[in-house]
């Protein structure tokens, strides 16, 4: 076993005092976080909030600038947030009155090894700019998000259902007001017991 030898292989060495050290991403003072600092300076009106929980940073942005901010962070020389891990939504129906949905993108910087969560809150029926021009991988994630929540992504090349069938007419299942068993009657096989059960050899009873 080696002690921490392999950890340092990927770590980029940044001179101290430049404001881009790796420690600053995990500092208790969120205003020192490089992403927070940069976005506050460049998008003062559209960067809404930043929250830290369990060493994870969540930034809340204006939904209208969702794609623009992702573009900025991807193409920034130092931030290099170039990888979209996950994109999904959370139905906040039971937690607050408005807006209804939180669209959540887990983004990651492969060179800096920094994970980040970007959130934008939109209301039911509103649309949000699609991230497909920034990350091709957002294509299927947004299709799933539309399928499950009914959120529209502006500029998506092919926004149709993916997991459910194309003619699914029961709405969007991951919404909180959607019953777990669906809106239609649950089909029960052999409800009237018209089909006789076979007796088993061992018990002499129906199974």
């Amino acid at each position: 076993m080696t002690d921490g030898e392999n950890q340092t292989t990927q770590q980029t060495l940044v001179p101290t005092g430049t404001g881009w050290e790796r420690e600053l991403y995990f500092d208790d003072d969120l205003s020192k976080h490089p992403v927070v600092r940069e976005l506050r300076a460049v998008f003062p009106d559209d960067f809404l909030d930043a929250v830290r929980f369990r060493n994870e940073t969540t930034i809340y942005v204006n939904p209208a600038k969702f794609r623009e901010i992702a573009f900025y962070m991807r193409d920034h020389e130092k931030l290099q947030v170039n990888f979209l891990s996950d994109l999904t939504a959370v139905d906040m129906l039971n937690l607050r009155t408005a807006p209804r949905f939180d669209v959540t993108a887990q983004i990651y910087s492969i060179p800096n090894r920094i994970r980040l969560r970007m959130k934008a809150s939109i209301d039911d029926g509103m649309s949000i700019p699609s991230l497909v021009p920034v990350f091709n991988g957002a294509n299927w994630m947004e299709r799933e998000c539309f399928d499950m929540f009914g959120i529209f992504f502006e500029g998506h090349p092919n926004l149709r259902r993916i997991l459910l069938q194309d003619d699914w007419d029961e709405g969007h299942p991951l919404r909180k007001d959607y019953p777990t068993r669906g809106w239609k009657d649950y089909p029960v096989y052999n409800k009237e017991r018209t089909i006789r059960r076979t007796k088993t050899r061992w018990t002499g009873r129906g199974v």
Binding site: M1, T2, D3, G4, E5, N6, Q7, T9, Q10, F53, R54, E56, T58, N82, F83, L84, S85, D86, T88, V90, D91, N94, L95, T104, Q106, I110, R113, R115, R117, F135, N136, G137, A138, N139, W140, M141, E144, M148, I162, L163, L164, Q165, P173, L174, Y178, T180
Partner: protein, 422 residues
């Protein structure tokens, strides 16, 4: 120019009745006078590894467009998880990628532990590493066997399933189940290690390197294998990052991103292993990467077992309020019995907040995103399964590929439809 002859009866475009799974749906005239043929592959095609349907548009034998259709195995795990308590969800994660159930368990359990601020004891963490790496070997062996079977090396699956059987036996000794193991618990392991487990793992570790050599002897210099895999399905590094690929699909293109190194969880930062990288990003490179990962997984299990073999420290974080009290305490003290009762009937209330935890699954980054409203059930549980995201690159890879290579392209992504459809 003569129209392209097809081996099937080309149906009239006005006719709408379908007669089988493999058929021509419609035909269009191109400007050059050639015809585009729409071909349906699946959902019962043997090389789609489950039930996936791929709609192909062909120009002669060249694929010009490909549309994978998934969801035949959708069970709504995310919706169901909102009605289950935290400890009840672990068996549901078995059913995602059923060839690597311990890895799914681990991803979920680590996410919950992160939400709770709970740490499993060191011994449990090492045993988790051992089980997860064995499961990675099992998952890669299934991939190697079926992928080679698709391409035409029939005997490969007989070899790989022979060694996978040994791992299944180890799982059976450890937890009683072979496929859907339900192995990990929040807080560690509550049961003692069974007798005979360590000799069984030792026996596997002893025979596996020679078996691995058999696989590579059979394939790595095989001219048919090289012709079917080299230069096929090339993904550039830029495309791999842009399509959010993870696992061997990303590392086969030469991008060094392995969650075990980049964002170490468990005790991976204390173990010595290497991350193999590909050079050209084709099917053959991804094969080499996965074979090397088998070798590294063997190395990790050996190290972890050597370190933890003679350890007898506790395996469960019993000092925490979030785990079920020990059996002995439940049977002898009133306090533990009350805690046990409440834990079983109501579960525990998790803190308010949200976490995302990613692990390096055999197929890529397996992420769990939990939003908690302070109740005993997750408010929202998002399963980021690696093969769902990796499958999104198939239309990109298939453009311009030959029809005969489609099975190689689907196989190289390493999909399990239970994990894709959730």
């Amino acid at each position: 120019m003569e129209p392209v002859k097809t081996p099937f009866n080309v149906m009239d475009s006005t006719q709408t009745e379908y007669s089988g799974t493999l058929m021509v749906e419609d035909e269009h005239e191109l400007a050059s006078g050639e015809r585009v043929m729409t071909l349906n592959m699946g959902p019962q095609h043997p090389s789609t590894h489950g039930v996936m349907r791929v709609l192909l548009k062909l120009d002669g034998e060249t694929v010009i467009e490909c549309d994978p259709m998934i969801g035949y195995l959708h069970r709504g795990t995310e919706k169901l998880s909102e009605t289950k308590r935290y400890a009840q969800i672990v068996p549901w994660t078995d059913r995602l990628d059923y060839t690597a159930a311990p890895q799914n368990n681990l991803g979920y359990v680590l996410a919950v532990e992160k939400l709770l601020g709970l740490n499993a004891p060191e011994r449990a963490q090492y045993w988790r590493v051992i089980m997860v790496e064995l499961s990675r070997i099992a998952s890669h062996l299934v991939w190697l066997g079926t992928h080679a079977l698709d391409i035409g090396a029939l005997s490969m699956s007989l070899y790989t399933f022979r060694e996978r059987e040994m791992i299944m036996d180890i799982f059976e000794t450890f937890c009683g189940a072979r496929l859907t193991t339900n192995m990990m618990e929040i807080g560690g392991f509550s049961r003692q290690l069974p007798d005979g487990l360590i000799p069984q793992i030792r026996n596997f570790l002893r025979v596996f390197p020679s078996k691995l050599k058999e696989y590579t002897d059979l394939l790595s210099a095989n001219p048919i294998w090289l012709a079917r895999t080299k230069g096929v399905g090339v993904i550039t590094p830029e495309a791999a990052i842009s399509y959010s690929l993870t696992g061997a699909c990303l590392r086969g293109s030469g991008i060094n991103y392995d969650v075990r190194k980049a964002d170490p969880y468990l005790v991976y930062d204390q173990l010595d292993f290497e991350v193999p990288l590909g050079q050209f990003g084709d099917v053959f490179d991804r094969y080499l990467v996965r074979v090397e990962e088998l070798r590294q997984a063997h190395k990790i299990v050996t190290q972890a077992l050597n370190y933890i073999e003679n350890d007898d420290r506790p395996m469960m974080a019993y000092e925490s309020a979030y785990v079920m009290p020990p059996h002995m305490g439940t049977m002898t003290t009133a306090e533990d019995m009350q805690r046990h009762f409440v834990w079983v009937i109501k579960g525990f209330s998790a803190p308010v907040g949200e976490v995302y935890h990613a692990i390096e699954h055999g197929k890529g980054e397996f992420g769990i995103h939990i939003v908690s409203d302070g109740g005993s059930m997750p408010y929202r549980l998002r399963l980021r399964t690696p093969d769902y995201v990796n499958l999104g690159v198939l239309p990109h890879m298939a453009q311009g590929a030959m029809l005969a290579d489609m099975v190689a392209l689907i196989g190289t992504i390493d999909i399990v439809l239970g994990s894709v459809d959730r």
